[in-house]
Amino acid sequence: MRALRAEIRHWRRGRASVRLADALQDAYIAVFATVMLGGMFVNAVIQAGAVTDELCVSATCQDTRGLVPWLVGGSSLLAVVAVARLFGPVYVTPADGSWLLTSPLDRRALLGPRLLRIMLVAALASAAAAAVGVLLVGTDLASGLGFTVTTCLLSLATAGACAYAQERERRTLAPTAQWVLLAALWGGAASVALDVAPSMPVPAAGDPLTVVAGVVAALLAGVAAVAAWRHLGHLRHRDVATGGELSPGLSGAFATLDLALAYDVVLAHRWKGRGAVTPRRGGPGGPLALVQVDLRRLRRTPQRLVVLVAAVVVPYAAAAAGAGRFVVLVAAATGFVAGLPLLSGLRVMARGPSLARAMPFSSAAAQSAAAAVPTVAALAFGIATTGAIAGGLTTAGWPAWVCGLAVGASAAASGVRWMTRRPPDYSKPLIATPAGAVPTNLYGSVIAGFDVLLLTTLPILLVPDLRGAAVSLALSAGVWGYLVSRSPAR
């Protein structure tokens, strides 16, 4: 490995493609932008913390607020596990896979630096998330620092454990950890919703609990890192190559800010990894065939429905925390995000014209059929959040049910908007910006879904009664109808 690196250095000598001055200039811009944007973000978080300081005065709200750092920290660990499972976490590019993994190199020496990078990125991301959490609740500096460092160490441990579990024989470890973390987070949100949230402020820096937690986290991180490093040599080509196949597609999607394309890449990668399924056949004809395919999808991967059902707790937690009429926005946003995985069939139907053209009915009928099951699920989600919305809007009876239905319709319309949006079109006239030339529909593509979410919840936010709900419902229905009747993207 050392000889190879020396050889690469030798090849590169005299073949620099970037001048030192250009590299320094790029580095300056990157550091300046990071500091400036980071400063703005930190300032916004501190301001948000100050606002909640003023508004959150009740004991329930204080208890709920105390849980925020724990929920944010737990979410960051969950994100680490999810991303680690997606990529490996240790992965090699297709070029490295074909050139280096097929040669008699020490695999541990080759993959070691990559593991280190992955663990560092995970630790930094979790530290940033934990810092936001403690800033939001206004924890003192020493306690906040202790909490952030502990979360950072736990994140290192999580990334290391995922790398240790990367070998095919130990693949159940990471999914189990993911479901346990998800259940813990759900439990936290449910305790808030049921008003039984324990009072759990971030422990003080000198608290023995902080010290013990820090030491345990450090031990876990050390053990996981050593275990992962020792097992790097056991990783096979197939263990590290699949994540590498994913990275070029995702890089391309993010480079063009095409989030739906990133969704396609992840979905295709996931199903390719599964390889085969037990085929199920038969059923109704015409457009209903597409509806039934979606129902089979639910049976095949019920986790998507479980997540949507579990997400019902979020608006209730927001209502219990005193979010007022903004519960409507929280509920619709939760339904929108949690419902996206159900819309995979519509996404495939809408991203190109070929499938819709192969059907004997119109594209509108095909897309409506592909959106039917997720829409019904979103409406059911909305109705299930009626209790939370009624509390937030102080309405009751059937007007509250209509509000719940409107929230579900808003989530459905936003999801359909997200899935049927047009990708950024670089063949159209471009606008010159400081970040380079961008297509005119780039920004619209980035905010797709959230635009409809705001549009359709605004009437209830402004007029939080039956009239607002009726207007919201009509808007959502109109947007939904328009979107599914559009021709698929070309």
Partner: protein, 209 residues
């Protein structure tokens, strides 16, 4: 009157006439092959015929009626195999074919699907997901999706693409059978053996035609 009639078809991109003044008839049970070197407009003609692209001028009629791919009659009559068929990543090979057959309300869909699966040689891959198929197998799946549904006109854009030698021979047999059953075929191809075996008439497109 021919099943498919193309009159004065012209397609202009920017300042370039990719196709200009093309006249073409395809009768039921007849196969017409479009041949020509790359860039002579074969795929453009097929895209205009199937309604995927709008001609700059000219008419395309199916059964004497202007071909409008939004109508159920045209969608039922017209089966296409172009290069762009998308797949659901979570549906297996046989589930795709089952979906197409049921969407078209094919009677005894299960038997039809099983027959087509055997015919295209994908029985062993029935439960596999499209992402795991080789490019040749994906081509066979695209062809199967056209054979599993009702059709009066089959439009094929280089159907031999990515098929091995045996696959091309099988395709020639299958298309000959399609003709015998009364299906009209319009195809673009670079494979002389396939054109010779299947086509009743060959239409050569030149640069700018």
């Amino acid at each position: 009157m021919a099943l498919l009639e193309v009159r004065g078809l012209r397609r202009r991109y920017a300042e370039i006439d990719v196709v200009s003044g093309l006249d073409l008839d395809v009768d039921a049970g007849e196969a017409v092959a479009l041949v020509g070197s790359n860039g002579t407009g074969k795929s453009t003609v097929l895209r205009c015929v199937t309604g995927a692209d709008a001609p700059t001028a000219g008419t395309v009629t199916l059964d004497g009626q202007p071909l409008d791919d939004r109508t159920a009659a045209v969608r039922t009559a017209l089966a296409t195999v172009m290069d762009d068929l998308d797949y659901f990543p979570d549906l297996s090979v046989v589930e795709h074919l089952d979906l197409f057959a049921r969407a078209h309300r094919v009677a005894d869909a299960e038997a039809v699907v099983d027959g087509v699966l055997r015919d295209v040689g994908l029985v062993a891959q029935a439960g596999q997901l499209p992402g795991t198929l080789s490019s040749g197998q994906r081509r066979r799946l695209a062809l199967a999706s056209a054979f599993v549904r009702p059709r009066r006109l089959l439009v094929l854009d280089e159907p031999e693409q990515r098929l091995d030698v045996e696959g091309v021979a099988w395709l020639a047999q299958r298309l000959t059978r399609e003709k015998a059953e009364g299906t009209a075929i319009l195809m673009a191809s670079h494979e002389p053996a396939l054109v010779e075996a299947v086509a009743d008439r060959v239409h050569e497109l030149g640069s700018g035609h």
